[in-house]
Amino acid sequence: MLTGQELLDGIFIGSIYALFALGYTLVFGVLGIINLAHSAVFMLGAVFAYSLVALHGVEFWLAAPLAIAGAGLLGAFIEFAALRPLRRRNAPPIAALISTLGFALACVGLIEQADGSGPLGWLWRDGANSVSFPAGTVPQTTYRLAGLTVPAPKLAILVISIVLWLALGRLVLRTQPGRAMRAVAENPRASALLGIDVDRVILLTVVGSSALAGLAGILFGVAIGDVSPYIGRDQIELRGLAVIVLGGMGNIPGTILGGYILGVIEVLALVLFGSGAHAGISFAILFLVLVVRPHGLLGTRAVERV
């Protein structure tokens, strides 16, 4: 029912969702909060890379790591400005939803207003417009194998998403820092008594997650050819949320899987039900999946000791 090309398209989109959702799910896993600033960092990652390449003539292969580092710094800012103060005040998780949303709105607003005249001219000059990386930033070669069209950038995204999946899975499950993360996620008090610096673990988690968002943003900008203040908010946020929930919150393999599944579902809906209804169908499927599996596909019910 799906041609190879369509399946491939679905998987490509899916790996973009997955990349974005990875960082999302890390923060949820450890902090139990939805970090709505994630989409803004995603956008800014793309913007940083674009500005380095297009405005400052930096080679992409250098610009990308710099932009990712920048995104990581934003993560630190988010932790200190929007998350830690709330933890100190023992605020309910939903409060973090609002503070991070505030951060996201502010970021979008700032970029949107940077038309070259303002103080942000060095970073962004196109206001609310959408731009694409200058031709030749990355090899845009399009492989054609077995009748399939495989654009190099998208192939890269697919590969990177798989590599990160394996790497992160190993980090979280097999290494001491990973154990510390899970320990903090489950019981910060006990973790502190074991000599784990809870605040530091959380900071690292948020920074890492933001760096991932930045990476995802850059790849999105390169592969889709669309960099604008809205790419995070409009194109990716809601789906990213859907993906981490599908995968079972805080579950890394689940998140990657959820990404692919959502991507394929969308293409399937497009092919089976026509373009008009495809979006509606995929949301309906999301709804049904949750009704059938209330904790996501790979999610496990948190045992409630009575």
Partner: protein, 393 residues
């Protein structure tokens, strides 16, 4: 839980005081009697920020130039531009505020069609002329669902632009088949799509498929590949923002060799820039062509470039023309002591407009819509446009 009502009051008071301090900084827009206050509702923030800033620049430029020439029978013009945040509710709110509080004689805007349908009824209800300078949707003027005798439009509606474009290309290249791509969650795009679906067959162009998606699509490739796989001569894109350029790039990547036809959504430098080489030849009908050399445009272009360092686009030209049209109407309406009468007089005068603008010779139709030369333009692949043909009204 205590008494919430008492608390509401308390909190409201608290908010009032706190933000009032901030609000004190707000700019005064009170108007002296010897100036003629005009207003404009543009989208300077939000997605509409793609167009609003140029509109604001051009409108303010026009006012300066007119005042420099001594204003309108001795009185200087003043224009208050308020941002509607690309939000229809805000658009209506600021329209009401400009009329009721700033006592403007006439208004420009709003930027977006979605906002216009909220703002225009307010202006009409308050008997204040409002000139749409960028809204191209259906039912903006003429057959509005609400009384709109005070509403005018100097922007080229898709209803006239798209057919003109299709006609021109059909005459030139006799395409047989086409596919239509558009986001179905955006009024502007849907309006355009409906027009294409009506018009294309009339010129012997068969629609092999109509492919819809949403504005929030992460990747358009699957939709584009569906379109390309049908091997059409033409791909219609009735949309704006990032979508046209993204589709063009993708389609070319997938080996599409045919033509891109579209509507007003193409007519910004941004689209041409983003599409780059992929967009070469993408053709649309525009209310404005930068390269026109007749004096009213030449002067405007040079003044605008000198002032803002970039060439004006269609939206700037239409806003600029809007101010000229209002000033001209004010002149003919003559001044009146009573604001209501003055507004009515301006409204009457507008109906008989006939002036030279950067858009070309300009007059309104009986339904207050634009009647002007249509410029068929095509992207030159380097972020600019070239003139294909001009269509007299």
């Amino acid at each position: 839980m205590g008494e919430p009502f008492a608390r509401i009051a308390a909190a409201c008071a608290a908010i009032v005081v706190s933000v009032a301090l901030a609000a004190c900084g707000s700019s005064s827009s009170s108007t002296q009697s010897k100036t003629i206050p005009l207003g404009a509702v543009f989208s300077l923030t939000g997605p509409g920020g793609v167009y609003g800033p140029q509109q604001k620049n051009a409108a303010e430029l026009a006012v300066e130039q007119i005042n420099a020439k001594g204003g309108v029978d001795g009185k200087k013009l003043s224009i208050t531009v308020l941002d509607d945040g690309s939000d229809k509710q805000q658009s209506a709110q600021v329209t009401q505020r400009l009329i009721q509080q700033n006592g403007v004689v006439a208004l420009l805007g709003p930027t977006l069609s979605n906002s216009a349908v909220a703002a225009h009824p307010i202006a009409d209800r308050l008997h204040t002329p409002m000139l749409a300078v960028s809204t191209t949707g259906l039912h903006i003027v003429g057959s509005c669902p609400y009384p709109c005798t005070y509403i005018f439009r100097d922007s080229l509606g898709e209803a006239s632009a798209i057919p003109a474009n299709i006609e021109t290309y059909a005459a030139a290249a006799h395409p047989k088949t086409a596919v239509l791509l558009y986001p179905n969650d955006d009024k502007f795009s849907v309006d355009g799509a409906k027009i294409v679906e009506e018009t294309a067959p009339r010129y012997g162009i068969k629609l092999l498929g109509v492919i819809q998606f949403t504005k929030a699509e992460a990747d358009l490739s699957p939709f584009v590949s569906q379109a390309v796989s049908k091997r059409p001569d033409v791909i219609f894109i009735t949309s704006l923002g990032a979508i046209p350029s993204t589709i063009m790039i993708d389609a070319r990547q997938q080996g599409f060799k045919g033509k891109f036809l579209g509507g007003n959504g193409f007519n910004t430098a941004a689209v041409a820039k983003a599409a780059g080489a992929a967009g070469t030849g993408a053709q649309s009908a525009s209310a404005y062509y930068l390269g026109n050399t007749f004096p009213s445009n030449a002067q405007f272009v040079s003044a605008y470039e000198q002032r803002y360092g970039v060439p004006p686009d269609q939206f700037a030209a239409q806003a600029y023309s809007g101010v000229l049209i209002l000033a001209n109407a004010l002149e003919r309406a003559g001044s009146s002591s009573d604001l209501a009468n003055e507004r009515d007089a301006v409204r009457a005068a507008l109906e008989t407009t006939s002036i030279e603008t950067p858009l070309g010779p300009f007059r309104f139709t009986s339904t207050h819509d634009v009647s002007q030369t249509i410029w068929i333009i095509a992207e030159n692949g380097a972020g600019g446009f070239r003139l294909v043909k001009s269509v007299k009204p």
